[in-house]
Amino acid sequence: MQHEQINKPFFLWAHLNKLRWLSLIFVFSVLILLPFLHLYQTYVAAHAYDLLTPDQKGIYDTMEWLTSPLTDNPETDLNQLKGTTWSGTIFGLKLSDPLALVGQLAAGLSIYWPLVLAALIPAVATMIFGRFFCGWICPASLIYELNETLAGWLRRVGVPLGDRKFDRRTKYLVLGSGVIISVFLGSVAFAAVYPPAIVGREIYYAIAQGGFGAGAVFFLLTILFDLMVARRGFCRYLCPGGALYSLLGRYRLFRIKRIVETCNDCRKCNVVCEFNLDPMHDDFGQECNNCTACIAVCPTDALTFTVSIKDSPFLGPGHLGHEYRHVSHEAEHETAAAS
């Protein structure tokens, strides 16, 4: 009973994973909504409702219904929210992916300060919260996680799917080689291989530009890689953005910490971790994206958030593991004796 009094995590932490799913779905649906809003804007700008096809009229009416409470002048007002997670504008504030900045620096070998400012807010947030973009915002992450669920079902049915382990540090090499390739090619090479950039762009291409581009094929290949070769393989081993965020978030402030007194060594956190980290042995490292899946799954509430720039070293086996079994045995004996 003593253990429950000390170190009980704040009750909301266990529900953050649901919030994370909501956030991922919200970002994805906004990415789908924005191209339709753009189409609506162009129809408004054309001032020719009668010339639209029935499909276009449907888009027009739906978007008008959606936006009419918010704005009387959709033609210009809807420009306040534009772009994708790769780079976008929110009410005049430009936000860019730090990887876009790195790619542009490498390609042009020159600094454009407005882009640095645009990438500053995400970069600072990454320094504080770690690789949170991967788990909370990345539109590709949603698809990869659903893909992972599908893989789980397929495994249950009995389809043999690969689960190879590679070196986690490969992605830093991908980041490095991307920088070098950008320098030699004279173009931002990351834009074509970085899944969140691809997903946002391809949704826009498919809805407003009349068809998917080359990135969709590349993204499909990464999904197949995840499914057939390695679980969440692209994020774990290859994503250059993940590598950059891991480096930025190395000394992040908010990290997950195991409460050794209440841990019962059940390993559920290790199994659920998308990035193949080792929460049970206090090994979160720079690649934890604070997705809180391990907090949500923990049966004894032994994982919580802490403010610290370093992980604690291995604290030893969970104390509850021992006593838990011991106590439950005793309880069984008692009930057996009572009956």
Binding site: N79, G88, Q104, Y112, V174, I181, A192, Q209, G211, G213
Partner: protein, 202 residues
Amino acid sequence: MKRRHFLKRFVYSLVVIIGASLPYGMSRLLAPATRSDRNKYLRPPGALADDAAFIKACIGCGACGEVCPPRCIEFYQRSGGSQVNTPFINPEDKGCILCGYCMEVCPTNALTVTPRNEISMGIAQIDRSACYPWVDRGVCGACVSVCPLGETAIGFDFANFYRPVVQKGCVGCGLCVEVCPEPSLPIRIVEMSGSTVTPHRI
């Protein structure tokens, strides 16, 4: 023994480095470089004059296309090699209306805010052996009436009404190309330094 060890490590690291650059090669293969006709692939207004510098600066976010009211900005979707995902305007599909939203939304220096009469997407060039009024096949003036910049960009020939003449103020928005009723498109957008009259060798 030592040398063999070194060789092994060398080969291993080479394989890893090649594997790490595989995604980039793959994405490059999916978008093969193609020769693009300058007249059909104009850069959006306010673009850097040097096309190589433009490709270096553009991060391929697609924001310029997402704000374009006439949806004239298209992208190299499945081709273009290293310029994949960069924007272009094909005036034969849709011309630019010079609204300037794309210049405002661009997060990089690929598109910079430029006054509309200083934009340099190109200059219109008229083929005087095909344009209807120039070959006395009727009156037209569509290009002159659609031009957003007025008489500084395109006007009528002084002596012969309805024959369009491109002036030095043309910025190459391409609306005249979009609107031209002659199927062979005697008007097209060429480089800024080009001639306003299609040269013919006899």
